[in-house]
Amino acid sequence: MIAAQIPGPSWLHSLPTRFKLLVLLVSGAVLFPVDDILILATCVGLVIGLYASLGSKGLVQLRLLRPFGFMMVFILGLHAISGTVETGVSVVLRLTAMVLMANLVSVTTRMDDMLDAVYPIFLPLKWIGGSPRKPALAVTLVIRFAPVLLNVYGCLQDAFRARTGRHSSWRLIAPLALQALKMSENVAEALTARGGSKGLSNND
């Protein structure tokens, strides 16, 4: 399971992750109170320019935002009903600029770099006797087990089809939830047998 990414390298990939996050945070805070349509449209243009600076693979990425586009049309529609089209236009432009900007950071940063960059926010866990590495372990477990659970669901679906001839049913969610808890017992035991997550805190 890989995050949707623009394959690197590029000048945006090589910027430090924390710098990119900081720019994103600041530009979001600066843009939020702006209502001027001209300024906002310029910002959207600039962000699209940033995508274009990555070449065609950057521009292709813009196409993935189609569901977001539908949402924007919907919001503009609601504003039109209320008779506040102008506010609607500036809202849509502002949201487009912010979403495109945030997306750009995500698609040019590897997940593990992102995890490293935000690691310090978990340091306070030490004060309450936890390990700041536990969240990273939990992230790894989720990435590993989401496909496993999909696989389990696939097996449940096959069995269901063999019994009923129908493709799928919401009834399969109960056994899926049960299997998830049962598997988590085994994994927890395996983790404990290998020294447990407590062992992590000794190495800090």
Binding site: L78, A102, F145, A146, A177, K182, A188
Partner: protein
């Protein structure tokens, strides 16, 4: 946090991810509005794991999304979803799971099915919309009524999920009572 709790939290976060990756089901009697099972996962996390672990499972899931994993229904992910108009709903998710878990814990004397319906309606719908609609207002400058109107199409689907979550909780309680950790 014990190894066991950590792994349970991770498995439920994975379950929320897996449910979001299942193809959306169009419910015929709702006019074919497609519903995804993802928020069902949020309700289940609270109902099954209890307030703390349930909320942590949802937070862990959102953390992965923020890191860039495309795990939200429809393959969305990354920081962009936290800049989108629906961010209020995402903020409401962990709180909703917490409240749902708390209700399960406090209503031990009630039948599992009934308790789970209450937990899912209050935590999974009330709390989540309680964050989602003001979030929409803040992000889009729409009036509260218009924002509420815009989200109303999803309400019938969410009530279907309440029923499913409750039936799932009851099935689990019958099949493996100790798995209903919110009441263990």
């Amino acid at each position: 946090m014990s190894d066991r709790s950590l792994v349970q939290v991770a498995f439920y976060a994975a379950l929320i991810a897996a449910l979001g990756l299942l193809p959306p089901i169009a419910i015929p009697f709702l006019g074919g509005v497609p519903i995804t099972a993802q928020s069902l996962g949020v309700m289940l996390a609270g109902i099954m794991l209890g307030p703390v672990r349930g909320a942590l499972a949802v937070l862990l899931f959102l953390f992965l999304v923020a890191l860039g994993a495309p795990l939200l229904a429809g393959g969305r992910g990354g920081l962009a979803v936290f800049a989108s108009p629906s961010v209020g709903f995402l903020i409401g998710w962990p709180v909703g799971a917490f409240v749902a878990g708390l209700i399960m814990q406090k209503t031990r004397q009630l039948n599992v099915l009934i308790a789970a319906v209450i937990a899912a309606v209050v935590g999974g719908i009330g709390v989540i919309y309680g964050f989602g609609i003001p979030g929409l207002v803040a992000m889009t400058d729409l009036t509260f009524d218009k924002a509420a109107m815009g989200t109303a199409v999803y309400l019938p689907g969410d009530f279907v999920k309440v029923i499913i979550a409750a039936v799932v909780a009851q099935t689990v309680a019958r099949g493996l009572p100790q798995a209903l950790l919110s009441r263990a």
